[in-house]
């Protein structure tokens, strides 16, 4: 366990960013926080979390895959991917940190997505315990401990100091390069963690119970008559998807810039009406099917294929951002009724 005085935070950031690009959650001037490359003068946000999740850094909204050049009957494949530079992501919350595990299960399973993989390899994740969880937090439901997040390095903060614990080799290596961190006792964080846990225990959404959302009940959940009513107000926008740290659906599109064809990958949302559109129709023709897909994926399909791990980390972003507030907690609670 290491520590550094809060007043020295700037030195720490400065030292880290000498070697690697450092992203920290900072206010963006529009009343919200986002991960921003650190530069002299940039300070940590007071906000609990960023609006856009930390997945952006590993799975960006848009990335170029490959270029082509068509000429006559010939095609030239131009691989022009830029390898990501090493970077450090500071201030990741416990929920977002868990989301990397979920994304890993998708992108690092065979066949491995090399774009994601290299970013994961290049990125050092420094998590930060949540001093002030908010009412929309329900990470605890998924066994995530906001008082002791994972990642390459875990940090805790109180008024005086930042506490630092390296968890992995990557974390150790980074720590070794930061001499301003001084040693301290493991127990130093206990009061902080205890305080956090006492708040976590009072969170209103702790009562969310997801037992029974397993493979055996998949068909039952799928055929629930409630989907009709639940999906009724859904606008079919991609807000929940795009702020979600675990949503990873993507689209591959070509853009002809007049000289070359750029094939890029971009986020997509299963809530969008054309998500599964083919030349002769779509198998999810109404918002009901699309809405069902998103929540079934998070609550049933994903855990079925991944040792029961839910595709949700309880970050609460969709609870705050859904234009009509039809969020995963409402859906899960409604479906739970069916399983009783």
């Amino acid at each position: 366990m290491k520590k550094i005085a809060i007043s020295k935070l700037n030195d720490l950031f400065s030292a880290i960013s000498k070697e690697k690009v450092l992203y920290i959650p900072a206010d963006d001037g529009a009343n919200q926080a986002r991960f921003t490359p650190w530069q002299e003068g940039l300070t940590l946000t007071d906000k609990l979390n960023t609006v856009r999740s930390a997945k952006d850094l590993f799975f960006p909204q848009v990335e170029n895959l490959v270029n082509f050049k068509n000429s006559g009957k010939a095609i030239q494949i131009i691989e022009n991917r830029t390898e990501p530079q090493p970077f450090v992501l500071f201030g990741v919350r416990a929920c977002d940190c868990r989301s990397f595990d979920i994304l890993d299960r998708v992108f690092l399973s065979d066949p491995v997505d090399t774009f994601y993989k290299t970013r994961r390899e290049q990125g050092v994740v420094i998590t930060l315990a949540c001093n002030r969880p908010t009412e929309t937090c329900f990470c605890g439901v998924f066994g995530i401990d906001g008082a002791d997040p994972q990642g390459d390095v875990t940090c805790w903060m109180d008024e005086a100091a930042l506490y630092w614990r390296a968890n992995t080799e990557k974390g150790e290596a980074l720590t070794a390069a930061l001499p301003m961190l001084t040693d301290c006792a493991e127990e130093a964080i206990d009061p902080i963690a205890a305080k956090i846990r006492s708040i976590l225990s009072k969170l209103p959404l702790n009562d969310l119970d997801l037992t029974g959302f397993n493979r055996d009940r998949m068909m039952e959940l799928f055929n629930s008559p409630q989907w009709e009513d639940l999906s009724q107000s859904c606008l079919g926008c991609g807000t929940c998807t795009f702020v979600c740290p675990t949503c990873q659906c993507y689209d591959v599109q070509d853009f002809d810039d007049g000289q070359q064809v750029r094939r890029f990958r971009c986020w997509d949302s299963c809530m969008f009406s054309d998500f599964t559109m083919m030349a002769h129709g779509t198998n999810r023709p109404t918002q009901k099917e699309r809405f069902r897909q998103r929540f079934m994926h998070k609550l049933s399909y994903f855990p079925n294929n991944n040792d029961g791990i839910f595709g949700c980390v309880g970050c609460g972003r969709c609870l705050q951002k859904c234009p009509i507030h039809m969020h995963i907690v409402k859906v899960a609670k409604a479906l739970k009724e069916d399983l009783k």
Binding site: F255, D257, G258, Q259, R262
Partner: protein
Amino acid sequence: MSVNNEFQPTIVAFCCNWCSYAGADLSGTNRLQYPANVKIIRIPCSCRLNPMFILRAFQRGADGVILCGCHPGDCHYTTGNYYARRRMTLLFSMLDYLGIERDRTRVEWVSAAEGAKFAATMNDFAATIHKLGPNRRLEDLRCRKD
């Protein structure tokens, strides 16, 4: 880009078939010169010009877009240019509001008889765009050619 690396703007001129395209033809018939950067796209009427086309042109690397149509009152389809006038006024105002240079877009009414006006307009517009330099505020970086 031309050989001497001087900025050569790309200018798209949308011309209505009945007046301005004929006006452009007339300026050709009269051998009135205007810069080769100006490329004309024939549309049936100025009211056919969808704002999307203008934005598309800027996206793909145009530095200026001009719409030429019949003089108000002379539209072959009676009222087309009146609608075009309102649409373009509002569109240009919005582009201006978004901070796009006002001079990159223009509407000019050119009749079939105004070959000289057509050439003069194009010369003037091309000079204006040349002065403004490359379109940087409403461009798609993927389409940038340099």
